[in-house]
Symmetry: C2
Subunit: 469 residues, 2 copies
Amino acid sequence: MSGIHLPSEIEVVNVGLSLFADEVREQGRPVIQVDWRIPAEGDPKLVAALGRLYGRHSPAIDEANAEVARRLDKGSPKLVEIEPAAKVVPGVDDRTILHSGPAIVWEEMCDPLRRSVRAAVMAEGWAGTPDAVDDLVAHGDVRLEPANHHAAVVPMASAIGPTAPMLVVDNEAGNTRAFSSINQGPGEVAWFGRETPAAVERLVFLREVAGPLFADCLREADTIDVFTLASQGLQMGDEMHMRTQATTNLLIRSLLPQLMSLDNSRSVELGRFLASNHLFYLNLAMAGAKSLTLWAEQVEGSSVVTTMSRNGTTYGLRLPGNDKWFITDSPPVGKAIYYAGYGPEDGAPDIGDSAVLELCGLGGSAAAASPAVATFVGGTMRDAIALTEDMYRVCVARSSRFKLPALDFRGTPIGVDVRKVVELGIAPKVNTGILHARDGTGQVGAGVAEAPIACFRDALLDLDRRLTG
Amino acid sequence: MSGIHLPSEIEVVNVGLSLFADEVREQGRPVIQVDWRIPAEGDPKLVAALGRLYGRHSPAIDEANAEVARRLDKGSPKLVEIEPAAKVVPGVDDRTILHSGPAIVWEEMCDPLRRSVRAAVMAEGWAGTPDAVDDLVAHGDVRLEPANHHAAVVPMASAIGPTAPMLVVDNEAGNTRAFSSINQGPGEVAWFGRETPAAVERLVFLREVAGPLFADCLREADTIDVFTLASQGLQMGDEMHMRTQATTNLLIRSLLPQLMSLDNSRSVELGRFLASNHLFYLNLAMAGAKSLTLWAEQVEGSSVVTTMSRNGTTYGLRLPGNDKWFITDSPPVGKAIYYAGYGPEDGAPDIGDSAVLELCGLGGSAAAASPAVATFVGGTMRDAIALTEDMYRVCVARSSRFKLPALDFRGTPIGVDVRKVVELGIAPKVNTGILHARDGTGQVGAGVAEAPIACFRDALLDLDRRLTG
């Protein structure tokens, strides 16, 4: 833990519960409150593991963590093309549907994810109705696969069929390639857990119009450096998870000559779609982040999380050098604002692969960059800054490219260390949308989800076992 | 002046020079420093006038100021069309060149403005070379008019001929209409004081391509609410004078369907122009601000400035209810960053009509909104906030639409009161570019210009004479 510099006139330092400090303050004497809790809530197994992981294993872990952080910080993802999933994503065959979160069987999928799978299957033309999809799935005719097992990440309740156009992002520094779908935009859409004809139609539009035409633009344009745009967006109020408006707009203006050169009867539809979709950049940022975690996870013996993902039923982590998932129940989104007429009882548990952003210095880590996000987390920039401050406490490094104006242009926190999360009991904060849990309404709110500590503890104990032998 | 709330443990309050306070601080005793100077530097005439304007005239002035501030705050400028200057701008005939700043004869124009006039005349086809323009002007064949006398505002060294396409902005609330040119973009351009073939070509491009095609888009689009977009841009790092990147991008994304619908062989040129011009919104914001000051200046007996403008030679102010200009020399741009190889000796004095933004809660008033501007004024957000804080001290109200995230979403200061400027000796801060003073290089830097106090003093004395009779 880092040192605390006390002003010289302080007479009382209080550590732990603030009741005592409050009493001293009432007596008019200067006091400083240090937030301290019993490490790992005093669990003997965890405390012993922490002892080893901060003790004799520490030099090796710190070295590995520094390399993981370097890769998360120095990878340089570029958008290189847009192609159908089956053509470019490894291991995707003509019956594969990729979904967000850890692996999960159909019966255990949450309602919005199931609806999204149905929309994807209907968009592929394998079935004409939701019931027919259910029959197909029951007969084992659909292969459900976590996107994360195929170098891909998809937001919220996205489910992606083999003909879906995928953003292809290369991180040359690490020779890694990652994928994401094209963001489906607002309204009646499958990634919000809808299976209506309009939601299916949007997927068909992405395949038939948006994907191919945007790919045409890319072929005519300079390579798009995903995180150079994102770092500019961070100076313009995006934290790149809830809010990607500025970065989306930077991308669109930079591609304006190519967009305006399109010679296609449907190009105006693409114009309308882009004009209405301020989250267009979200998926690109996610693919960029994934290309970095794919590089970082090749490091052995690190305690820094390289996969963090949810499917609305379970929440999963992975550590570098290890394929093992640490899984627990996906929690509700705690700090949330609901649309009028909806409340916590309507919200599905936390869902989506987008938490990959929080591992790379974006999203909750960059909350302090975003006035718009501030309104979701308390109303002032101080509330947004507090989110980021919590992330600093559990991270091992600072981004050299994502800078926070509100914190004197300090780099955002990167590299979530399971040791710190378990020791301090501080969960990573993930900015996210909230979907209706049952009735296919779609998005009903947005907020900040806390990752469940349980899977960090499991990951920590496993790391300890692997290192201690 | 507003009350100061002192913490109870303060033992010494120091008013005025900080030397004494520094000494007390060194002795380790709590001290608070209050920045106070002798009002109006003790000038007896000014002090007497201030006495009357803050005294018996105060209720009437405060009432007028409140109405001026209401108009600056509540006007709702809309971009309605783009048409050639001679067609829409009142009083522009086929030999008129509109220029920035107060009225000025050719011989006294600064070098960059003269070059810009030459480029405008050549773009009109009245002369083929800079020398031929000089002959025309010498023979009285060009009518040089301040844009401000024609309900128009133009940035930096802009000079606008009768065929130049003008943004037409209506403030329905006040039944006022204002105009600005289309921003000429970066590089070898007349508004930066260049007269080269490329600079002339850009003006022709605006007339032949950008103006008509953008006008086509407007006809197909919803009306553009100038300050609704600007208020969003303020949450995205624009202060709307040095930096209009976010707002430009918002505008472009909202017009994307119309831009992509253009059926014209030259539309891609428009695309390239817009992709390269992050200051496109500057002129639109200026026209919006001018439409408000035109409404506000109809109020009688106010001490709030409604014209503030410079031509690189002189600096001028006007107060409401009065056509009289208060003129002094245009100062150099004080706090500045120069491009490599240039310094203060190369910079022309402050120039352009863009200071109209600072009267309406934008530019220097909104510096605290902009991380990019912070880098020009000291490097941290605190430096940018200090600029805005200075503007609060000389303004009468706060904007209800332009909010500052860094100051808990407080509205930006609006309504610069000559009484406060003269009393406190605090000049309005204007964010601006810097042009080469002599050789036609174009822009050589950017910085913050302080308005010269002299013209505020003259305006104050004139207001006192008018009210005291």
